[in-house]
C-alpha cells in the first residue's frame, strides 16, 4: 500500500510484541524507496510521536486486544485520508483515524455493530474491499480457527456501519484422530489470513486464504497403520509423563519438570523413528463463480 503520500509502495505489518515495557503489538512499516526497494522495518508512530498501539482497557484480560495482527490502510471514513483498521489476538477490530501523509491519531476506537464490538474467533485478520459492489468498504477476515468471514457495510462511504458476521468459507472441522499424509488436505486449515481481489480477471472478487497446517507422514518402511499405532502410544505415554508431575494446584518442582522433559525427549526420539512431521502453510485460491 502507499501509506505516506510519496507515491512509493510501502509495506505495513502487525507484530506481536514490543520487547521493552508492557507487552503490546507494534505496527511495523517498511517505507518504499525510490529505487523500488524498501527500508528496514520501523515502528509506525502516531501524531504524538509515540509508537501506535491499540488502545485497550487497563486490565490483564485486555492484553490480547493490544497485540495487533494484520493492519490495513484504507480511507474508511471517506475524508480523503488513509485510516488504519487492525486485527488483534483477541479477535476484534481497532480503528485509527488518519491525519494524512502517513500520520494517524494515537488513540484507536473499536469497530462496532449496534454498540457491540464485531469479532471473529481470535486472531482477527481484516481486509477491506467493496465486496458487494455498493460503493463502500465491507470487512473480510480470517481467524485462528480458520475460515473466511464477511461483515457487510450497511452504512455509507463516509459513515460505515457493519452488520452481523456471515461465513464465506466455513472453518474446517477438527479430525477426531491423527490423519496420516496430506491427501485429506483439500482446503484451508486453521489460522487463515485473507486477501480479496479479482485474480482471474472475470470481474468478480476472488479469495486468497493463507493457512497453517501440521502434517504427519510415516517414516521410510513404516506403514500408515504402524505409524498411527505409534502416535497413539506416544500420546498415552506423553499423558502419563505429564500426569507424573501431579495434579496439584501448586507448580511442579524443578526436579519433576526435568524428569518429565527427559521422558518427553526419549519419547519424541522414539516417535521420530516411525513418523516425520511437517508444519507449514499454504495459499489457497477460491475463484468466485
Amino acid at each position: 500500500m502507499e501509506l505516506n503520500g510519496d507515491g512509493l509502495i510501502d509495506i505495513l505489518s502487525g507484530s506481536y510484541s514490543r520487547h521493552d515495557g508492557d507487552m503490546a503489538g507494534l505496527f511495523q512499516v517498511l517505507w518504499g524507496q525510490k529505487d523500488g526497494s524498501f527500508a528496514a522495518p520501523e515502528a509506525l508512530k502516531g501524531t504524538d510521536g509515540e509508537p501506535l498501539i491499540i488502545l485497550t482497557e487497563d486490565s490483564e484480560e485486555a492484553l490480547v486486544d493490544k497485540i495487533c495482527t494484520r493492519p490495513i490502510a484504507v480511507d474508511l471514513d471517506g475524508d480523503g485520508k488513509l485510516d488504519i483498521v487492525s486485527g488483534n489476538f483477541g479477535g476484534t477490530f481497532a480503528f485509527f483515524k488518519g491525519e494524512g501523509n502517513g500520520k494517524f491519531a494515537p488513540k484507536s476506537t473499536w469497530i462496532e455493530s449496534d454498540t457491540r464490538k464485531i469479532s471473529v474467533e481470535h486472531h482477527s485478520d481484516p481486509f477491506l474491499v467493496d465486496w458487494d459492489k455498493d460503493g463502500d468498504f465491507d470487512l473480510l477476515s480470517g481467524s485462528a480457527e480458520g475460515g473466511a468471514f464477511l461483515f457487510v457495510n450497511e452504512g455509507t462511504k463516509t459513515a460505515p456501519k457493519f452488520g452481523v458476521r456471515t461465513t464465506l468459507i466455513a472453518a474446517p472441522k477438527q479430525a477426531a484422530e491423527e490423519v496420516i499424509g496430506d491427501a485429506h488436505i483439500t482446503g484451508p486449515q486453521s489460522s487463515t489470513r485473507i486477501w480479496a481481489d479479482d485474480v482471474n480477471g472475470d470481474g468478480k472478487p476472488d479469495l486468497l486464504l493463507g493457512d497453517s497446517v501440521s502434517l504427519v507422514f510415516p517414516a521410510k518402511g513404516v506403514s500408515d497403520q504402524e505409524a498411527l499405532a505409534k502416535i497413539k502410544e506416544f500420546g498415552e505415554k506423553f499423558s502419563k509423563a505429564y500426569e507424573s508431575m501431579g495434579n496439584s494446584e501448586e507448580p511442579p518442582s524443578e526436579e519433576a519438570m526435568k524428569k518429565m522433559q527427559a521422558e518427553i525427549e526419549v519419547l519424541t526420539a522414539e516417535k521420530a523413528k516411525f513418523v516425520t512431521e511437517e508444519s507449514t502453510g499454504y495459499v489457497w485460491l477460491f475463484l468466485q463463480k
Partner: protein, 97 residues
C-alpha cells in the same frame, strides 16, 4: 402451506445471494505448491509490488517475519519465489505472527 411458500420466496428475494466459489486450489509457482517455512502461518497478498502492471503474490510467514515474492510472469504463472529485501538484506519484521 401457501404462507410458508410465500415466506420462502420473499425471504429469498430479500437475502443477498451468498457467493459461490469453485473448489479451492493451492497456489503454485514454477509447478510447485507455494508453502511457507515451519511453523507455518502463510499470509498472502496479491499486489503489483514491482510495478510492472501485473499483480504478484507476496506471502508472509511466521518464521523470521519474512516475505516471499512470487512475480507474476503472465498467463496465470508465477516465477520462483525470492525473499523480499529491505535495506540490502532479507526483510524480517520483528515479532510477527
Amino acid at each position: 402451506m401457501l404462507m410458508n411458500w410465500l415466506l420462502v420466496v420473499l425471504g429469498a428475494a430479500a437475502m443477498p445471494q451468498a457467493p459461490e466459489f469453485a473448489p479451492p486450489v493451492r497456489m503454485e509457482a514454477e509447478g510447485k505448491i507455494v508453502k511457507v517455512e515451519a511453523p507455518g502461518y502463510a499470509a498472502p497478498a496479491w499486489f503489483d509490488v514491482d510495478k510492472d502492471g501485473q499483480k504478484d503474490l507476496i506471502v508472509g510467514q511466521f518464521n523470521g517475519g519474512k516475505m516471499m515474492v512470487y512475480k507474476n510472469t503472465g498467463n496465470g504463472k508465477l516465477a520462483k519465489g525470492e525473499w523480499l529485501m529491505a535495506a540490502g538484506k532479507v526483510a524480517e519484521v520483528p515479532g510477527v505472527w
